[in-house]
Amino acid sequence: MGLAVLVVILVVAGAVSLAVGARALSPAEVWHGLFAAPESDQRLTEIRLIVRTVRVPRTVLAVVAGIALGVGGALIQGYTRNPIADTGLLGVNAGASFAVVSAITLFGLTNPFQYVWFAFLGAAVAGVVVFGLSSLGRGAGNPLTLALAGQGVAVFLAAMTTAIALTDQAALNALRFWNAGSVAGVGFGVIWPVTAFVAVGLVLALITLPAVNLLNLGEDVARGLGVNIALSRTVGIVAITLLAGAATAACGPIAFLGLMVAHVARYLTGPDYRWLVPYAGLLGAIVLLVCDIVGRLVVRPGELDAGVVVALLGAPFFAALVWLGKFKNA
């Protein structure tokens, strides 16, 4: 029931997102742009171009990345059993930023389209390294070890990123835009592969949900109930890395979103991850889409990046909910 409401909200937000922007379009014009055949009329051709090459890609990306970050945020809180865990915790954001900056310095890249694959590679490698480090030895996969190892690696990579950025002005220039986190300006050439990675991540995430529930009862209980802890944890971390890595590669680091929607989803559904995770995904998509729309409206004719709006709008709202005592220390 609640899920249906969220889907309706998401569809409405998507429709608004197609119509709103530097050039406002009426619903009829959007419809025309989406479905009409090419014509000779100059104005209609222009609308078609705007809708198909600008509005549709960024709307799709906002939905895909929002779902990925929301689900990823809920999962990482489930696996680390830490309520302040965020998708950046696995070093994914730091790895992506580091890869982007290194690629610019080493290969002289200038076009953001070229960053994407480096960013994804960096995110994936960082995630694998963190998970590998936390799985060495007997205390394998201890949630606290995982979280701290992630922090350690992220700290190191961030330092390297800063060191490069301070010595290479071109890298610093690219980094400051990359860091803002935006869903605009990416074509379908990037969006399809990203969506494919997110889809794989989502399937893996859904498979592990029952195990996450049991893991949150404590490892001994989970083991007693027949959960293969190492396996489910590995699958879960792979899923989070795919989700967060793909979203970060396409949009840049969007902080706070995953953490925020995971808490709101927990408030709405209770602690059952089989419900919590789908809610978090839809909430993530809605929040990112709405923030992107707001970002297009507030500083017209310029734009505010979605990642910045997420923090500026979402954080006060989230803080108010915290103050009202809506969230429990999960």
Binding site: N82, P83, I84, A85, L89, L133, S134, L136, G137, R138, G139, A140, N142, L144, T145, A147, L148, A149, Q151, G152, V153, A154, V155, F156, L157, A158, A159, M160, T162, A163, A165, L166, T167, Q169, L172, N173, R176, F177, N179, A180, A255, F256, L259, H263, L304, D305, G307, V308, V309, A311, L312, G314, A315, P316, F318, A319, V322, W323, G325, N329
Partner: protein, 352 residues
């Protein structure tokens, strides 16, 4: 863990109203850390374009040095080394308090808003070079203005989180929210500013010990000493909080007040650190975790955390000054050393 088990049967020490449980391992580690910190402190003073031997450095600090050494050390090198020491201790203790109150090892004073607030104000002042901004920088200086912003943000977090007392979980979530807002503002300012200003702002954001004179150090030093005195007095009532509010109340601790005082000290200590070195990242997060593992404590030990922080910062500054081909701010080196060291400790603990 064996040290824990033994300590419960070891006798206490009592001096008037003050009593300790004698834990040899923790005391030994803390003393060793203090000795190593002092040694590194003196080494860092001795090493430079005009090298001075370790004995001369120690003699000069205690007032029995040659006039030449005295000038180089007292006027040129001591302020910087002292800044490293003070900032490291302040950040380490501040981090230990925050992680204890929040009972969450991922929290650090960065979450309390000081760092992000100071960063946002500094970046604003650097990038928006208008009439008022320039006037503010000219009259009080960038660091002081940023410190004002940081303390303002810290107090904002503190009061927003106050609802019939301070609760660790609520504080941390509010802090994360406020930090997210401040970082978003910083990011946006950086993305819209002139690239030359961005480089200057970025350098400030990392934190640095370059060109620290007595003026910057003196204030931070006295503030830190005063705050450490308060922390030491309250620390005796702070320990029972680890067992939970009910147990603490049962032991006669006014837990709301103790927690509030300790957190305020953590905020102000982080502020003192920012005033001397800018927002040096990660020391406050890493130092308590490293200290916990060295001292084999279940919770972050205050004194050892401060010493590890100082060790990290002085060591990183030494590396940054002497070993690296390019000049990098100490914050970068701190993170580059601290991160892997934390991972190393984790991996070693896992293997055991």
């Amino acid at each position: 863990m064996s040290a824990e088990a033994k300590s419960s049967v070891l006798p206490g020490l009592r001096l008037g109203r003050v009593s300790f449980v004698w834990r040899p391992w923790i005391a030994g580690v803390t003393l060793l850390l203090a000795a190593v910190t002092f040694l590194l402190f003196c080494l860092s003073i001795g090493i430079g374009d005009f090298p001075i031997g370790l004995p001369q450095v120690i003699a000069t600090i205690f007032g029995h040095g040659e006039p030449v050494d005295e000038f180089v050390i007292m006027d040129l090198r001591l302020p910087r080394a002292l800044a490293g020491l003070v900032v490291g201790i302040a950040l380490g203790v501040s981090g230990a308090i925050t992680q204890s109150v929040a009972r969450n090892p991922l929290s650090s004073p960065d979450v309390l808003g000081i760092t992000s607030g100071a960063g946002a104000v500094a970046v604003f002042l650097v990038t928006v070079s208008g009439g008022t901004a320039t006037a503010i920088v000219d009259s009080v200086g960038l660091s002081a203005a940023a410190l004002g912003g940081g303390l303002g943000t810290g107090l904002l977090v503190y009061f927003l989180a106050w609802r019939r007392g301070i609760d660790g979980f609520r504080l941390i979530l509010i802090g994360i929210s406020v930090t997210a807002v401040m970082e978003a503002i910083t990011t946006w300012l950086l993305a819209t500013a002139d690239i030359r200003d961005v480089a200057r702002a970025q350098a400030w954001l990392v934190g640095s010990l370059d060109d620290r004179g007595w003026d910057e150090v003196r204030t931070a030093l006295w503030c830190t000493l005063a705050l450490l005195a308060v922390v030491t007095c309250v620390a005796f009532q702070f320990r029972p909080l680890h067992f939970g509010d009910e147990v603490a109340a049962g032991l006669g601790v006014r837990y709301t007040r103790v927690r509030a005082v300790m957190l305020l000290c953590a905020v102000l200590l982080a502020g003192a650190a920012v005033s001397a070195a800018g927002p040096v990242p990660f020391v406050a997060l890493v130092a308590p975790q490293v200290a916990m593992r060295l001292a084999r404590c279940p919770t972050p030990p205050l004194a050892a955390s401060g010493l590890v922080g100082a060790l990290l910062l002085i060591g990183a500054d030494l590396v940054a000054r002497t070993a690296l081909p390019v000049s990098l701010p100490v914050g970068v080196v701190t993170a580059a050393i601290g991160g892997p060291f934390l991972v190393h400790l984790l991996v070693r603990a896992n293997a055991r």
